[in-house]
Symmetry: D2
């Protein structure tokens, strides 16, 4: 069972993660992890912190001569701004953040005790974990990408684009948006939000290609692939809705229009002409690309802050202002990739077992052949 824990605060010494259950013999390139960390820090509309942090991973354990050996992999990402003990107390909780509920739960009058860990800074550790999982998936031909479908109400028109067109378009985009015209408007929208002290949310889509049919299971509620992916995506800071395939439209249209008819071609096997299901039927991957979307609320730390209450005096005041982004949808997409990568890597190892990369590959190939000859 692949599993991981993360630790670390926004202004603590560092972020840490332990990833446990990885096969031996997998090559891990620090540069690939650093590249993912860098991708998380990009995107128009990011705040001052992104300028001071250039995240680099330090792999503390789990490798020997650049490859996994079966032992837990631990990674550390240093915080440039390590000041948690010196930073002043915060008494005005920000609406939309963990601040108030956290202060009540953990019984503290200093909201900093809460916001330090609740911060999306934590996702850097998850991106490092995801980068390792991507290295595993890569060995099985599974690829994961994300792109931005909407920011602050501006929608990208990407429905008619193939996955490779999306990939090509976002390569040069500053907001990971595959529709260049929409992206221009998105940038304007972000500029307008900056000037008003306001913020924007949006929608990102994660696509995983090359996933074999049969990951996940309908047999028990907590083994469903869609349930696991939805839980993962919803666990990303600021995500408030998750959609698989054309799930929202699916509530609107009829069965005859929605479901993806099944076809077969010799040599190719079963296939579909549409993918409204987003690659998941009955809680299992069905062999089509997995498509899952995260809906991100606007950043909750605002330049023109909302009404709040001093949690000590109970007097009305304005919410706290921390260093802030104005829009972080592209970054959330990168985190979404990491979350999806972890869930798929976990499912691959559950289905195919194996303790060394070679063993898992052998098992995988046996199954691929079984499906081919089905």
């Amino acid at each position: 069972m692949l599993r991981y824990l993360t630790a670390g605060e926004s202004h603590g010494k560092c972020l840490v993660a332990i990833l446990e259950g990885m096969v031996s013999g997998l090559k891990i390139d620090k540069k690939i992890i650093d590249n993912e960390l860098s991708r998380r820090q990009q995107g128009y509309g990011r705040g001052g912190r992104m300028k001071i942090e250039k995240d680099k991973v330090d792999i503390l354990s789990g490798l020997r001569k650049g490859a996994t050996i079966g032992s837990p992999i631990s990674v550390l990402i240093e915080n440039k701004d390590f000041s948690i003990d010196r930073l002043p107390a915060v008494v005005n909780p920000r609406p939309g953040h963990a601040d108030l509920a956290g202060a009540l739960k953990y019984n503290t009058k200093d909201v900093r005790d809460i916001l330090e860990r609740a911060s999306a800074r934590e996702t850097a550790a998850r991106v490092a974990v995801g980068a390792i999982c991507k290295s595993l998936l890569d060995e099985f031909g599974i690829e994961i990408l994300s792109h931005v479908m909407m920011i602050g109400g501006i929608e990208a028109h990407t429905r008619d684009l193939s996955i490779s067109e999306i990939k090509r378009n976002i390569a040069k985009a500053s907001l990971r948006c595959a529709d260049p015209d929409a992206e221009k408007l998105m940038i304007k929208r972000i500029d307008s939000m900056i000037s008003k002290g306001d913020s924007a949310g949006g929608i990102f889509e994660v696509i995983a290609t090359g996933v074999p049919a049969g990951l996940g299971s309908y047999a028990q509620y907590d083994k469903k692939l869609d349930a696991n992916l939805a839980g993962g995506l919803m666990s990303i800071q600021a995500i408030k809705a998750v959609e698989i395939g054309q799930g929202i439209e699916g509530a609107r249209v009829s069965g005859l229009r929605f479901h993806d008819a099944i076809y077969y071609k010799k040599g190719q096997g079963f296939y579909r002409k549409t993918n409204n299901a987003g690659g998941i039927e009955g809680g299992m991957s069905n062999g089509e690309p997995i498509v899952i979307r995260g809906f991100m609320k606007p950043i909750a730390t605002l330049g023109a802050p909302l009404d709040s209450v001093n949690i000590k005096t109970k007097k009305a005041l304005r919410a706290a202002v921390e260093r802030r982004d104005v829009c972080a949808v592209p970054a959330a997409g990168v985190v979404g990739e990491a979350v999806v990568a972890f869930e798929l890597a976990k499912q691959m190892l559950l289905k195919f077992g194996g303790d060394s990369l070679g063993e898992t590959k052998r098992n995988f190939e046996g199954y691929v052949k079984q499906v081919k000859n089905f």
Copy 2:
């Protein structure tokens, strides 16, 4: 840790569930469980099976003289139609179902091996589990309801209704819809789908009131209340998207418009005037009603079936036709209540501990007082 497993096939002998970790001293009324089971079977547009099944629970263990004693609670719901070994093989997988992916995964040429367990019949067991969880929550003043917000594209207008108005309206509704005008149109839409051999999906909303602030946590990705609820709701058959509060609109509007400003009133404590967050901030309940929506795709078993392939001969044919519903959104809402009830009961017992109802209540009351005097 409260946990449960379910078992049982659609045409097997019965459905079974074991719920483990419940406090002692909780009164369990079989009638309340039966009533929930009955609610799951209702709603305009249900198929023939709902007429032959009148689900009744048999509580096999965990109670003594009508109350829990700390031991696992097991329940059984008999299937009227117990024919799994006699039913013929199915070779034409239905698009939108587990059929094809399941046959490949479990390596069977008889799709019946798959559809028997993948069927939404399994949710009866979850509703029984949820009914027991509701009995616990009831002791803490937590109430859960669901209503239908859309069916087949027909939207209910419920935004301006209070929770008690919604409750009142759905009491007499045949589709659990709080907007009587919309409901009439929904029924027409269902009738039209019946006549065409087509089907409809829709949206339901689950609302939980009385939830204390501080359930769940931001401290680790898999402890977030929203992640747990999203995973739970997405695990319900045919659900393809999950939204918390105004999460979809939240991707569109700005931060100043979206976030729920914080206020304080002596005696009442902290409160909000809006609840766009749906009662969850930073992965924790914030004291406001929890609002979560499930988006259900149209029923995948169709009267006018889609293209499919004979999994033995690989020749094109039409998908299988099982006994079917045309629309099951109200029922999915009832299952959604059960799923939310389980997740909240689990979180309540995690936060407040306790092995007897009295102990958990004492701990709960201590926290309520702590929050009041915060």
Copy 3:
């Protein structure tokens, strides 16, 4: 991940178990489960209850035409004596039982609320689960047996017996003891305990042969095979110590005498001439037979009961007398087999993955070949 839950009280309607995560395509013979249940009920020194219960399993789900289909397997064992609601309250807790600690924990003044579930009757459900796991292991050539090594201080001399000699000897034994002379003395000891209203404990040994090297792992504390087996065995009612291989003697002798030197023979691979490690090194199976022992305290329900206290009045009195066994070591050995079978089945599916028996076997055979060609 194979997992299970059990439910049911000693005088409730029945015992229930759900076993989840089993591969499809495994033939399950109800007679084999019934035979295991019957073995649990045998052994000289059992009480009156064993005469009235002839446990038979009812398989409620998970099979179609006699084989698994990937869905959860649920089983039910009816209690002949279903009287839990009529039985009188118990106020005098028995030393050595869950009675007192349970009454305090679950806050009840009626010890019956506790003893009903704490009773070893629950192990019937685990034996049924174990029987299914044994059916899986059987497909991989893994066999599990138990025998009695000591009862009430009478030791069996079995060190010089081979596993097949042990097997042969216990086939005809009434206490599952491979040393016929010792068994005669054990029976006398039990008779003497019966006459005094006293009871006896003892030691059983579980041996698993055919286990491939490499189950379990040292990589994380909770993945160690020995830790999992020890937890499992210690979870059996009345077990107070667990030993792997010659673990107790191992604390006494020197390293040069204890450790099992490594040899290699072409065709056969690596092997040992001794097995003091009991088949486990570094938290992993090493290819030798797994040998694990459970130390059972004497039955805590006594005919000549010990001092106790009325939990209502706090006045001194004697402990309660329930229907009782005088010695149940052979039965505990059968339960030990079941526990070991579950843990090994879980580890086999973790290491080899697979969703159908054929897939798991193919993966297993690939590994066997890999080890052979190592």
Copy 4:
């Protein structure tokens, strides 16, 4: 749910642990952790490494101004000898170690890939985790100690000593043995082992005082306190048997002699005059001191190594010689304390819930009162 993961290799950069689920408001003193780390490194018979390592903890996260804030606590212990990538390959597996089974499992021809993580060096991370758990338990009056009961066949006579006498005696002992005469003989035995290139194992006992009745549960096999403790202790490197209370003798004596009769005294509540059960009945703490013993096999790395096989050439040779201890029973006892501390802290938080130390204490005190007034 309190949980933790560790990472790190013996000659890697460092050891790391993440402990997750701790309440807020708990003061953590780095010196207390360092002191525990130092205790793990002591004891007559330790090897050269203990001289070069003076373990110090670096707390990476989870604290603010010296106290927990509810976020995960991560700790790092640097390895002085960081040479994993430079160290030569090892081809001769040591009997008694993970070496051979690990090489087969993870499919490596270099045993160093295995021994680096399988090494007991990993327990330093667990001791750090245990030190934090002890800080929590300390707030509830729970204290944990360990002492050595046997080394290499030399038994300490401690049965007639009270816990406070044991504590006093081991304060000045060099092997954590409470019987000074035995300790002298133990040292001689170790010296003799050193001179022969041989090694010694032994027995340690962990005692936890102040544990309230009612931790753990009989309700499900995996919730039993004894099962959890046994699993924990057996997961310590080189432990081959675990005994709770007088569990081994319990298999020998009769019920009337073994079980701990129950008494009651006003003001004091229920009590026992004996503690053969080792503080656990029915899988729950019963209010008496918890007593659990670990049986450690002799160190498997020997100066006069055993027969082994070159895993590349398959030719017979001698086992590898790594830097080694000759006896590490006192250290294993310290690790045993850590493991017991974690399990008890986990159970305390499960039973009493709470997110801040104050909340958990309030809940605990309510239960203590409930038990008092039972």
